[in-house]
């Protein structure tokens, strides 16, 4: 008797994509994630849905995969995507011969591009540097990693898929060089859990080597740290890429009311090395200035960093470890039976967010083949969530228009239960987070979810604390909601301090201008007015 046919390790985009695909094909599956869903690389990137144009010269396979997936995701994941379009801009610094190669590469990968006259470009994007030579439009878009991951998880759940967050895999069970089960620890209460299964899918991203090692398999993942900056304004209306060999700090991606600039690229030893540094922030500003002059005058609300897991088989690309960008961004499915003689486990490594669905499809095809399941993949056709029009109408009636749409995008069909609560109790329609327009009812719902364990989990699901105030006001306002569920949270002061320290990690590298002023206000509130750094009264 087995518990699940498949156990997936890793709750990033790839893992939840696999969970959904398996569940849609009727294969029983459980996903284990050591933190919260999307807490890793799947949310720590610039949120660019690639058109593939960035890889047109150096990596034609990635380029083709990207454009195909780009078109599919715009269809199946529309609420998670803002179809901004994108430009590639050539500055006077950039090599013209590269531009010619790039145009050819795009044509080969079937990426539609067209040149935008400079006069039109400056009209549409007035902040663009006057040093621009040529501008091309591509079908890039902005994608919200949190939303996409959660939409996949919810869809999987509807098809019977299961996931457990804050569960860390500690070892595997074997029978005759076949993996037959997974032993995991519940990090919240320390309990151990043994799950028997037929196949383990290693989709642990930057942690994939560690998971493979439990099966006695060696697998090399290069940890490529990328730091990004979040600006407080929508600096551009569309994605802006530099038209040159891909490099540091050359992509601006607008999201709602902010813009993300990234990224740096640096090989690090461990996926845990994801703290942004002041030097990296300054480097990004300096490079970004070539596209947007006087960039340093715009308010940066925070810096953040993710670790891209790049895959390299030992024989590939000599010297690749020195420069992360040289390693292929395409993915690899590693059949450990063929490769290492260990059955019952498959690893999916490399790749990028834009191709998560394709990666999931390939893995699920492989698993289906092993299990003798002939159900075809439908993830390229079936939308992640369908929110009925009646819900949209109800939301617009009960909430300010922008807040209504934002909430539906975040929650999908779950928005309905939040709206019902607001209908019962109109006071709960008030905004708890004024920066990101999150209502009291929404935070209450998320706070009471079974898989919400920390204030940071609420943040990832609702964007609470991710706006201009970076939690100074809304963290305080979320307090009574945590209070109601106090069995579930640490003492309130501890939870608050933990949350503001996490926010601080991304603020201290960009501590200047208006954000530094905001920081002083936050310190005044928490250290002086609330006296959280002083327990004399207790």
């Amino acid at each position: 008797m087995i518990d699940y046919e498949v156990v997936i390790v890793g709750g990033g985009a790839t893992g939840v994509g696999i969970l959904r695909d398996l569940s849609m094909r009727g294969i029983t599956a459980l996903l284990l994630e050591q933190g919260d869903l999307a807490h890793g690389t799947s949310s720590r990137f610039h949120g660019l849905l690639h058109s593939g144009a960035r890889y047109a010269v150096k990596d034609p396979i990635s380029a083709s995969e990207c454009i195909e997936e780009n078109l599919i995701l715009k269809k199946i994941a529309a609420p998670c995507i803002s179809n901004t379009g994108g430009w590639f801009v050539q500055t006077v610094e950039d090599d013209s011969s590269f531009v010619e190669q790039w145009i050819k590469g795009c044509a080969q990968a079937q990426i539609p591009i067209h040149e935008v006259p400079l006069s039109e470009a400056y009209e549409k994007e007035p902040l663009l540097s006057k040093e621009i030579v040529r501008v091309f439009e591509v079908p890039d878009a902005a994608v919200d990693g949190f939303k996409l991951v959660w939409a996949n998880a919810k869809s999987a759940k509807r098809y019977g898929g299961h996931y457990k967050t804050y569960h860390q895999v500690e070892s595997f069970q074997f029978e005759d060089r076949r993996v037959t089960g997974v032993i995991a620890r519940n990090l919240l209460n320390g309990e151990m859990l043994t799950i028997s299964c037929k196949i383990v899918v290693n989709a642990a991203g930057a942690w994939a080597s560690k998971i493979a090692a439990f099966a006695g398999v060696s697998l090399e993942v290069i940890c490529d740290k990328g730091t990004l900056l979040a600006f407080n304004q929508r600096l551009f209306q569309r994605v802006i890429n530099r038209l040159h060999t891909p490099g540091d700090g050359d992509i601006f991606v607008p999201h709602e009311t902010i813009t993300i600039l990234g990224t740096t690229s640096e090989i690090v030893d461990s996926p845990r090395e994801n703290s942004p540094l002041k030097e990296e922030a300054r480097k990004l500003l300096a490079i970004g200035e070539e596209v947007l002059p006087e960039l340093e005058k715009y308010r940066v609300i925070r810096a953040f960093a993710g670790v891209r897991p790049l895959h390299r088989e030992d024989s590939d690309v000599p010297g690749a470890a020195e420069e992360g960008r040289e390693v292929s961004r395409t993915f690899a499915l590693l059949d450990h039976e063929l490769r290492d003689g260990v059955r019952g486990i498959v690893s999916i490594v490399g790749g990028k967010f834009t191709t998560y669905r394709l990666m999931a499809e390939k893995v699920t095809d492989w698993v289906s083949d092993k299990l003798g399941n002939a159900t075809p993949c439908r993830t390229a056709e079936e939308c992640l969530s369908e929110v009925p029009n009646t819900v949209h109408e109800k939301a617009r009636r009960l909430l300010p228009c922008a807040a209504a749409e934002k909430m539906i995008d975040r929650l999908g069909e779950d928005a309905d239960s939040v709206l019902a609560e607001i209908e019962r109790n109109p006071g709960k329609g008030k905004m708890l987070c004024e920066c990101e327009m999150v209502s009291v009812a929404e935070v209450e719902k998320i706070a009471s979810d079974q898989d919400t364990h920390h204030l940071a989990d609420i943040r990832r699901k609702t964007r609470l604390g991710m706006g201009t105030c970076q939690g100074a006001f809304c963290t305080y306002r979320a307090l009574p909601l945590l209070w109601k569920d106090k069995g579930k949270y640490d003492p309130i002061e501890k939870e608050l301090t933990l949350f503001i320290n996490q926010r601080w990690k991304g603020i201290h590298p960009v501590l200047w201008g208006q954000q530094l002023r905001e920081t002083e206000l936050t310190r005044a509130i928490y250290a002086s007015i609330l006296q959280l750094n002083d327990n004399r009264g207790e």
Partner: protein, 410 residues
Amino acid sequence: MWDGIVIGGGLSGLIAGIRASEKGKRMLVISEGVGSLTYSSGVMDFGDVERLKEEKNHPYALMGETVVRAGMEYFQRLFPDYQGAWQNSQQVLTPLGSPREADLVPTGLNAGVLQKAKEIVLIAPEGMKDFFPEVIKAKLERVYSKAKIEIYPVAVEAFDIWRNSGKLITGMDYAKYWRSDQGAVNLKNILGKLTEEMACSSSGATSGEKQGEKSAIIFPGLAACFSNVLKGVLEEVPLPIVEMTAFPPSASGQFLYEALKQKFKALGGELLVGTGVKKVEFQGKRCHTVIVKSKGKDVTFSAQSFILATGGIFGGGIQVGPKDANESVMGLPLYVPAQWTNSEFLGEQPYAKMGVEVDPELRPLAAGNQEPLFDNVRIVGRLLAHWDPWLDHCGGGVSLASGWLAGEIL
């Protein structure tokens, strides 16, 4: 020609202006904003003076204990509504209901009486923003374990129309309402009814006086400081009424700001608010003129002396870019620590000690030099270097002492 111009109209700038005016000087205060008092809790913290006066370069060490003490006494003389005694701090409640220490406290905020209470009623003004009665109640139950804590909801008809239109009611809105004629009458009725109910329910209370010894009312969203009408209403209540400090914006801070402005004007001071300094002119070691932009055109003011009270990073006195930091008005040299931050957000943050280094008479020093850069410019308040109000809880002390000193020696 003015005797003195103060640039910056927050706590320390206004104290300096008031002290100098009192001594017969013709004073002008030019202020770009409205200071930071509304963001503060309205109480004055002096911190551990004994320790801080020994800390190298701390403003307390520079000015000396006598000056710090003079700052405290002067403030109390100006505003008898504030209680406090040297090195004898009092308790006030944080917005979450924890008692905390403070040195100068508007009378109504003093929470000392709660220690003896057996019955505490927590007023819950209906729909008040950023106020969590359940959380506060639980906190009070832990801290005042001998007392029975009860929540008493209070609804105000005047806010019905706000509530129905979805407008949020802040503590400031409530505090201003109670100060209105209608609000004061309503407050009197509410408290009268409440004390009657409490007298009935509390067994063995034979007189109001006895009741007052064991019962107390906590009243958030009320700030009676500087209002004779409200003080009159509260005096008639047989029970002690304890106010709470507020999450920003704070009524106590706002009312103190108003009182400071009023005091300054009453002494003949001139106040220009909403006016930023565009340029400052110097001759040798003396500053003589400031040019401000007022109503769209440049206006020039000259004075014998200048006091810079523009605040620190939050107030706008210091502007920090990705590569450098500048003093906003005169371009004075700044002390900037090499390492800026520390991973514990609420721990020591070295950047917070950024500021202008001064001599014991608060004159700015030339970079890397112990000589004053100008003879007739003085620095007060948050713009001073080498102190952190949030780490050492000494914001009120440094502002009052430096403001008083600058006004005194002008």
